[in-house]
Amino acid sequence: MASSIKNQSNWSDWLNPVLVKELRQYFHNRGILITMGGLLIAQLLLLIIMQYRASENASDIYFRNGQMMFMFVAIGMGLAAFLICAVSSLFRFTEERRDRELDFSLISTITPNRIIMGKLLGAFIMFWFIAALTLPFMAIAYFLRGILVYDMLLFVLSIVPPIMIAVQLGILMGSAGKRYLYGPYYITMFLFGIYYLIIIILLSNMIFRTAGRPLAALFIVYTISVLFIGLLYALSVAAISARQANRMRPVRLFLLFALVMIPLLGVGFAWLDAQGRLQLASSMLFAAVLGGGIISAICATLAAYERHDPGLRVMLKCPEESIRRAIYLLTSSGAWGGVALSAIIMLLTAGLAWLLWSYEPTMGAVALEWCCPMCFFLFYAYLAVAVSEKQKVLSGWLIWMFVVIVFLIAPLLLGGIIAIGLKFDSQITLIATPFYGFTDYRYRGVVAYIGPFLAVLTLFIAVALRKKGVKS
């Protein structure tokens, strides 16, 4: 039917089909329209209250009412955006997954990447639509005085990252298609909200009292948020990709991209330092070590949740040439590739920490100490993958959880019980955990060697096993 018809494009043809569908759904959804209506009514009520306050105390009208009204409008906007963009993304994607509607999108010519991008962009556009609904009230706040348009813009910009993180997390959890994940999502969002409230307070203090450099602070918040959203995004793409496809490749590639981008945090910290005590190069190196450790830990932990071998379909596309083959396997699905990549990142991070220590000993020492606890995550993942490969009953992630309980949570609890219950020095129980830094300083030097040692050992064993696996 379609093939015989000549194609004539219009402007919407260039848009992502999922984006078009999402926007249509937003404007058809009764719950969303009610929330938007609620936001408008709440703002009108606020206006009446402000009018009443102004008439009651005419001398107080300037310099306080404007800022107060803006804050209420901004909080309302944030809440509405959370409900409309984030919660509805979770609900909608969960239902699409449950009803197998997503399957039909996947058997069209659209890619998992475009599906997730369409959903994220849809929520992003809705955020600005909601912001536009509050514009008249923000204008009134401006005319009540006490606040600048530039400050308003900065504050609104500070609300975007948590909303987009909530949206992307909703998409990721929705991709599982399980309704019982709604509860954990709300709990996560509540805890994240408390954490972000502190950032908002610090940011608003900078913005409205012109203390420090709010743009630098926003730059740091945006850098962290973009990297975090990127990770959630890559995981979402992996979650909806075919089971035997090279689904971890986008995640691994993103982690490598994050490794390159993380020094930007250092730029932000150097910019934030009004006194100029922090050197740009040292700050970037320090950020690279901090981020590198975390990325290595994430890469290793995800490896514990993967299948052991890349799979037939992945191996069929594996290049013949040895270097390209190694890079391909490190960035493809397969637990051992993940463990090896994590170890390489950790070694690179330890090298950067050593470089920093050589010309900035104070920061370098902190950076070196940071590497060790991160190495423990590599060790946990390695152990989980190795054990799960030897037996077929328990999956990798289950063994990983068991390892973490035995090597991390149990010593921590034991130490706490001994210290609080028996009033006895229990620091020694932490020595083989990432919290070894809390132990007696005499042991810390010795333990600091464990981390890089584990990284080297893990790398050699992972590569050897991978080689054996590929040959077989």
Partner: protein, 312 residues
């Protein structure tokens, strides 16, 4: 177009959901895909629709492999699952428009294609209704329209008639006949075997992941050893009670039914060679036989004969 399923194997842990299944069919054919619950039908269909990958084996659409070239295969197949679209916030035309966009249809071409598909599936009057508010039959038509939106050469339908009322089932059957006449290859799984018999050219029967039988209906229900093993004869005789007793005396006759006065239905085990001696017993007894005809085995009866009903 030729569709070849070749030595397909799919395991889930220690369970072999699909165990070395091979069959083929071609354009213009409607093939029934039959098996008890848990036989591996949906798993096979999912592999054929590129939603899953086999552990070994492959499916070829005119030589294009689902394992190696799933993107190319998606352009030539239309898949209609057993679940129905149920969005509260999408209208029928928006839903179809979305799938047309995902297949790269643009502008005027998309509008015209949608109009054609809506006309064919008779969705024109309800195009502005929300999906959640539609009846099951309507949703089924929307689902079929979605599978047809990119004009695929092959249609794979998983339980398309499940839960439909007789009128909706009839309408669906008519639509499938037209699609088959247009040259599309259609594979449909269903539990309503009597309906499959009416529209199918052939059938594939599986149980516990294994292929039991595949081929044209003639091949299965007339010429296969299983069909030949037991023969059904419809006999017209005035003295039905006496004839029944006489027939039961013959060791090859396993059952005799009297569907209506003057008619007997005899099941003869052992095959066609036992028909003349059985009939000879009636003639020898001097019973007035007006006529007799050998009945073909129905798809349902054939299915019951070769399956055990066990699940994995």
């Amino acid at each position: 177009m030729e569709i070849k399923v070749q030595n397909l194997v799919r395991t889930f842990g220690s369970t072999r959901a699909v165990d070395d299944i091979s069959f083929e069919f071609a354009s213009g054919n409607i093939f029934g895909f039959i098996g008890p619950n848990g036989a591996g039908k949906t798993t096979t269909i999912k592999i054929m629709a590129t939603l899953d990958l086999p552990n070994s084996g492959d499916v070829f659409y005119d030589g294009v492999s689902v394992v190696d070239y799933p993107e190319e295969v998606r352009r030539i197949i239309g898949y209609m699952p057993d679940s129905l679209p149920d969005f509260r916030d999408i209208q029928v035309w928006e839903y179809l428009d979305f799938f047309a966009r995902t297949f790269g249809l643009k502008g005027e071409a998309r509008s015209r294609t949608l109009a054609e598909v809506e006309e064919f599936t008779k969705l024109g009057d309800i195009r502005h209704k929300y999906l959640a508010g539609l009846s099951k039959g309507m949703k089924q038509r929307v689902s079929l329209a979605r599978a047809l939106v990119h004009n695929p050469g092959v249609l794979i339908l998983d339980e398309p008639a499940a839960g439909l009322d007789p009128r909706a089932r009839h309408e669906l059957r008519e639509l499938l006949k037209i699609l088959s006449e247009q040259g599309k290859a259609i594979l449909l799984s269903s539990h309503i075997l009597s309906e499959l018999q009416d529209i199918c050219d052939g059938a594939v029967i599986i149980e516990k992941g294994k292929l039991l039988s595949a081929g044209s209906l003639d091949k299965l229900c007339v010429n296969s050893p299983d069909a030949k093993a037991t023969v059904t004869i419809l006999i017209q005789c005035v003295k039905t009670s006496e004839a029944r007793l006489k027939l039961l005396e013959h060791p090859a006759v396993t059952q005799v039914l009297i569907p209506k006065e003057g008619e007997l239905q005899a099941l003869i085990s052992g095959g066609d060679e036992f028909v003349p001696p059985v009939m000879a017993t009636l003639f020898a007894a001097g019973l007035p036989v007006m006529g007799f005809v050998r009945q073909a085995v129905g798809l349902e009866e054939f299915f019951l004969r070769i399956t055990t009903g066990e699940v994995q």
